[in-house]
C-alpha cells in the first residue's frame, strides 16, 4: 500500500510527486521526516498522513503544529480525505493521492493529429511564406496603375506578413505558457495556407459575381463560407496548440468565431439602407478569359428594369 503526495504550485499545478511504500508519512521541516518541506511556516513535525486500517481511507493528523492544517481552506485537526482534496500547511500546498482510485482512461490518439504532422516541416512553412509574399506582391502589382517598383512595394507587403504572423506567434506562446510544445512551424504553415485559401476564395467570388450577378442569397453564402473558414482556422489552431477534449475545443472555436463575426454582421445590419447619394453596385470587371456566361440582349435588360421601378416605389412607402 503506497501513499503518493503531490506538491502543488499556487495555481494547483503539480510540481513534483513523492511515492512512499509505507502506511504512514510524516511531513514537516525536520530532516527526520519522510517528506521534508523547506517552508518557514511549517513546524519541524507538522502533519502525519496515514491509512486508516479499518476503512482503508487516507487521513491527515495535525501534530500540534503552530499554523495548523487546512483541508480545502478549512482548519482541521484530523480529517479523512477524499480524492482531489487540497491540503495547505504553512505556505505549501499538497495533494494526497489514493492509489486505489482508478484513473481516467487515456484520450485516444486522433488520426487527425497524425495527419497534421506534415504541417510541421520548416521547409514547407518557409516555402509557403514565400508563396504568400509572392501572392501579395502580385496582387499589389495588378492593382497598380503607375510604374511598379518592387523595392518600394516590398516593405508594406512584408509588414502585412508580419501582421499575419501575430496569430501563429500568439498561439505558439500560449502553448508554451501552458507547458506544451509550441508547434510554431505548424501554426505558421496553417496561417499561410489560410491566407492563400482566402485569396483564392476572393478570386472565385469575383468570378461568380461577374458572371452570374447573383441576388442577396449570395451575400448569405459569402457570410456562411467566411464563418466556416474562420471557425475552421481557429479550431485547427487550437488543435495544434493545446491538448483539449473535442467538446471544449468546439466551444472555444465557436465562441471565438462568434466574437469575430458578430461585429461584422451587426455593422452590416445597422448600415442597412442608410441614405446614400451613391448607389451600391458591384464594379468588378474581368478580362474576356473569365467571361464564362452569355450576355442578355438590350430589350431583355430593359424588360427586367420594369420591376426595379416597382421596387423603388415600395421604398417610398417605408
Amino acid at each position: 500500500m503506497a501513499i503518493v503526495l503531490e506538491l502543488l504550485s499556487r495555481k494547483n499545478i503539480p510540481l513534483k510527486h513523492y511515492k512512499f511504500e509505507q502506511d504512514y508519512v510524516c511531513v514537516g521541516r525536520d530532516f527526520n521526516n519522510d517528506l521534508r518541506l523547506d517552508d518557514p511556516y511549517v513546524c519541524p513535525s507538522h502533519m502525519l498522513v496515514a491509512i486508516d486500517p479499518e476503512s482503508g481511507k487516507l487521513m491527515v493528523n495535525d501534530c500540534q503544529s503552530t499554523n495548523g492544517i487546512k483541508v480545502n481552506n478549512k482548519f482541521v485537526r484530523q480529517a479523512t480525505l477524499n480524492s482531489h482534496d487540497i491540503i495547505k500547511i504553512g505556505r505549501t500546498r499538497l495533494r494526497i493521492i489514493d492509489t486505489k482510485v482508478p484513473l481516467v482512461e487515456a484520450i485516444p490518439l486522433s488520426e487527425l493529429e497524425e495527419n497534421m504532422s506534415w504541417l510541421n516541416q520548416s521547409f514547407l512553412a518557409i516555402c509557403l511564406s514565400f508563396v504568400c509574399l509572392g501572392f501579395l506582391l502580385l496582387t499589389k502589382y495588378l492593382g497598380s496603375v503607375q510604374e511598379f517598383n518592387l523595392i518600394k512595394a516590398l516593405p508594406s507587403e512584408l509588414g502585412q506578413l508580419a501582421v499575419f504572423s501575430l496569430w501563429p506567434l500568439s498561439f505558439a506562446i500560449l502553448a508554451k505558457v501552458v507547458k506544451k510544445e509550441s508547434h510554431i512551424v505548424s501554426q505558421f504553415s496553417l496561417t499561410w495556407l489560410l491566407v492563400l485559401l482566402t485569396n483564392t476564395l476572393i478570386l472565385l467570388q469575383k468570378i461568380a459575381i461577374f458572371n452570374i450577378h447573383p441576388g442577396t442569397w449570395f451575400i448569405w453564402l459569402e457570410l456562411l463560407i467566411f464563418a466556416l473558414v474562420v471557425g475552421g482556422f481557429i479550431w485547427l489552431s487550437l488543435f495544434i496548440a493545446f491538448h483539449q477534449t473535442n467538446h471544449r475545443r468546439n466551444i472555444i472555436a465557436c465562441s471565438m468565431t462568434f466574437i469575430i463575426l458578430a461585429p461584422i454582421y451587426a455593422l452590416g445590419f445597422l448600415n442597412n439602407d442608410e441614405f446614400d447619394s451613391r448607389p451600391s453596385y458591384n464594379p468588378v470587371l474581368l478580362p474576356p478569359t473569365y467571361n464564362l456566361t452569355s450576355a442578355v440582349p438590350t430589350d431583355k435588360f430593359i424588360g427586367n428594369a420594369n420591376s426595379l421601378f416597382t421596387q423603388v416605389d415600395k421604398l417610398k412607402i417605408k
Binding site: L142, R278, L285, T298, F301, I302, F309, L315
Partner: protein, 457 residues
Amino acid sequence: MVAHVIYFVESKQNVNRLTNVNNPAKLAPLILIVTGTHILRILIFMLSMFCSLAHSQQTAQNLFGQYRTALYQIKIIELESGNKSSIGSGFQIDTSGNVVTNYHVVSEYVYNPDKFRIEYLAHDGSEGQLQLVDVDVINDLALVRKVALSEQESAFPIAQSLPKQGSAIYSLGNPHDLGMIVVPGTFNGLKKSSFYQRIHFTGSINPGMSGGPVVNELGEVMGVNVATAGNQIGFLIPLAKIQGLLTSQNAQVLENEQLKPRIQEQLLDNQNKLFALLNNHTWPTSVLGEAMIPSKITDFISCWGGSNTSDKEALYLSVENRCQLDEQIYLHNGLRTGGLELEFEWLDGKSLGEHRFYNFYSQSITGAGASNNATKTDVTNFRCQQDKVTNINGVTNKTVFCLRAYKEFDQLYDVLFVAATLDHTHQGLISHYTLAGVSKESALVFTQKFMDAISWQ
C-alpha cells in the same frame, strides 16, 4: 450686407458713363452731322456726350419715378420665429394685385405652407400679406396676390415683344432697405441652343433682386431676374414665359395640398417634352477611341472633352467626352432636378497588361454618384440592376442601371447608368449618364436608345 450696399451705390454712379459709351445708336446721327473743322467735331462730340448723358439719366429717373410703387420686396416669414428667412423682389402686373416673382423666392413656402407666410414690403415701407396663386417651377416663376388692395394700385406694363439685340435694358430689384435698385445692361438676345430659354444679361444681378422685372427703355417688362446661387452670370427669364403665367391671372388661390401636385404636373409635362425631343430622332454619333458614341445627341446640350495625353508618365490613354444640359430646375433648398449628363471615357492600357488593365478599369467605374444633391427627405435610396448586355451592334457591356424615386412626386425618378465594354483585353469604353426627374417611360426609352447607340468602328 454692407458690401452689397456699397456695391450698388457704386454701380449706380457708373450707370451714366456705361450707357453713354455703349450707346452707339444714339451717337450715330449726331456724328453724321459733323462735317466742319476738327474743333467743331470735338465740340459736337462733347455735345452729343452731354445729350446722351441727359437721355439715360432721364430714362433711369423715369423708371424710378414711374414704377417705384409697383415694385416690392418679397419676404418669406417663418412663423415660429416671426422673422424673415429669405427675401427676393417682385413686381405688380395688374391693378387687381397680382405680383410676379421667382419660384425659388417662395419655394420654402411651397414646401412647408404651414410653417411660412409670404409678405411684401413696398417702397413707402408699407407691408402686407401675399397669397400664392400659381407657380411655374420650370421657368422659376411664381404668381402671388396681395390680400388687401390699396386705393391706388400701379402696375408694370408687359412688353409685346423682345427688344432688338444690343438695346439697353434695365434690371430692377428691391433687395435691401434701399428701396428700388436699377442695374443697366444690354439685351444680347436669347441663348440659341437652350432647352429652358434664358436671356443672357451683361449686368450683375444680386441675390435679393431675384424676381424683379427687367424692363426696356419704355419701362415695359420683358423678363424676370434669376440670380440663384450658382449662376455667376445673370440670366433672365424671357417674356414668353411670363405670358404663360399670366393665364392664371384671374385664377383662384392654390390650396396648400394643390401645390405639390401642380409642381409634379409641370415637372412631368416638362420632362415629357424634353425626352420627346431627345428620343424622337436618331442620335448623331462621333468617334471616341475605337468606338462610336452618341455624345452630342441634341443641340441644347453642351459638350466638353479631354484626355491625359499630356501626362507622359501615364501607362494608359484616357479620352473623355462629357455632355450636359446647362440648366436645371430649382425645386427647393439646394435640390435641383431636370438635369441630364452624358459621359464617355475611352481607356487604352496596352502597357498595363490584361489583368492590371481590368483592375484599373474596375476602379474607373467605381463610385458613380447622383448629379443632384437630393437628400433623404427628397428621394429614396438607389436600387440597381446589373447584367452583361449585348446590344444590337454586338457590343457587350457590363451594365449597371440604378434608380431612385422622388418621395414628394409620383412617377418621377433619378436614373444613374454605368456600363463598361468587355470586348477587348486592353481597351474599354465606359459609358455613363444620369437623368434627374424623369418618368419610367422616358427613362426606359432613353436607356434602350442609349445602350443600342454604341458600336465599334
